[in-house]
Symmetry: C2
Amino acid sequence: MTETAKRPLSRDLVLETAVSLVDHEGLGALSMRRLGQELGVEAMSLYHHVANKEALLDGMVDAVVGELIEAVGPGGGTDAARDWVAALRARVLVARTVMLKHPWLPAVLESRTSISAPLIAYYEGVLATLHAGGFSNDLAHHTLHALGSKALGFSQELFDPGKGGGAGEQSGAELAAMAEAFPHLTAMMAEVAHDDPDSTLGWCDDQTEFEFGLDVLLDGLERRRTGTSG
Amino acid sequence: MTETAKRPLSRDLVLETAVSLVDHEGLGALSMRRLGQELGVEAMSLYHHVANKEALLDGMVDAVVGELIEAVGPGGGTDAARDWVAALRARVLVARTVMLKHPWLPAVLESRTSISAPLIAYYEGVLATLHAGGFSNDLAHHTLHALGSKALGFSQELFDPGKGGGAGEQSGAELAAMAEAFPHLTAMMAEVAHDDPDSTLGWCDDQTEFEFGLDVLLDGLERRRTGTSG
DNA sequence: ACCTGAACACCGTTCAAGT
DNA sequence: ACCTGAACACCGTTCAAGT
């Protein structure tokens, strides 16, 4: 499954191939030897195009953030001035469609020691939207923190119940013991599973939950902006 | 810096030592060989007490979550029925004081493939608080998702400006170029830095920002619970 | 039952050598 | 200038051997 090896090796080709490898097989599959193999080249050849593995990861982040910036365009237009909630919401949901193709990005971003120029440029667009919507610098600052990874389209929940903790594998006795030990959880799971068979705790609708959390935040921020909260 | 090696090796001692090692030196310092060294024992001896490194990480998570559950106590008391916002807020802020001692935990939790019994028990307490506060199962379910890592006391922001991206190292020319390329960011940083010298973009007050984000969420959730939103 | 040491199949990275 | 192969200092883990 090596590349066709027609394009000459270059930094861009190395980064593209690394992103594609990690998109398909996860971060665990990314080693210098494996990436070299993917490019039909010895691992050591890669060091002529990236300084080391950290620099490789930096480059991969910037490549994806470049995609993201292209997808969302500049912020702060007239529609942001008219309705910043709608403008920011649309921005974030577009970002999300790009980011879902690269689910390894939050983990890599968290391991960076400094913020890159492309990422700064992305946040400039978010800020332009907020300022067009009438945010003070102070509230805009708090807002960037409060949005966290949601600004980039990620929910970054700590555990994904779909990963294996859901119902379905327990015996009747285990379920009964669980109902006694965790009555509130058991009741909630039973009702949510009943209301929406496709969306039990073991398989929540990520998009729905992301938009719910985003909307709660946006509503609360708008109330603070207009001074109608508290 | 090895242990005094008086206590006999046991699963608990292995887990305690691993948590302490990672608290002090970070996840990168945790290897089976290094952990063995810390305990005055060969790396292979550890395999008599934990199945492998993944099981070691599982055990470390449960050890910390145990601390957490002890610190917050059970949820759903009369004060939760009287004021769920205050009750949940207090719970989360207590959780935060525990979690700040183990900042590696989000990264490890994200790498787990299933949710452990102690973590389920913690969420049962959160749910008890929400149910005492009058939440429907459906809204409680959305709320768990919306809270994300905040339920455990972590902000989990994607980048920490304090890590190195802040101002302070740029030349005058670089700052001028930045002001032109990123006018909104430059203006915000200037004002926020001026208002609070201790809390520039390069050194934000994590606790303040955590509480701001938490309060925005709690306000929005209370409005949804009472049907006063939208 | 618990601990050991050598070994295996991996890492990232350095270095001297090739073209 | 670009690529290579051997080597170094690490990983997690297996296995046979010790007590």
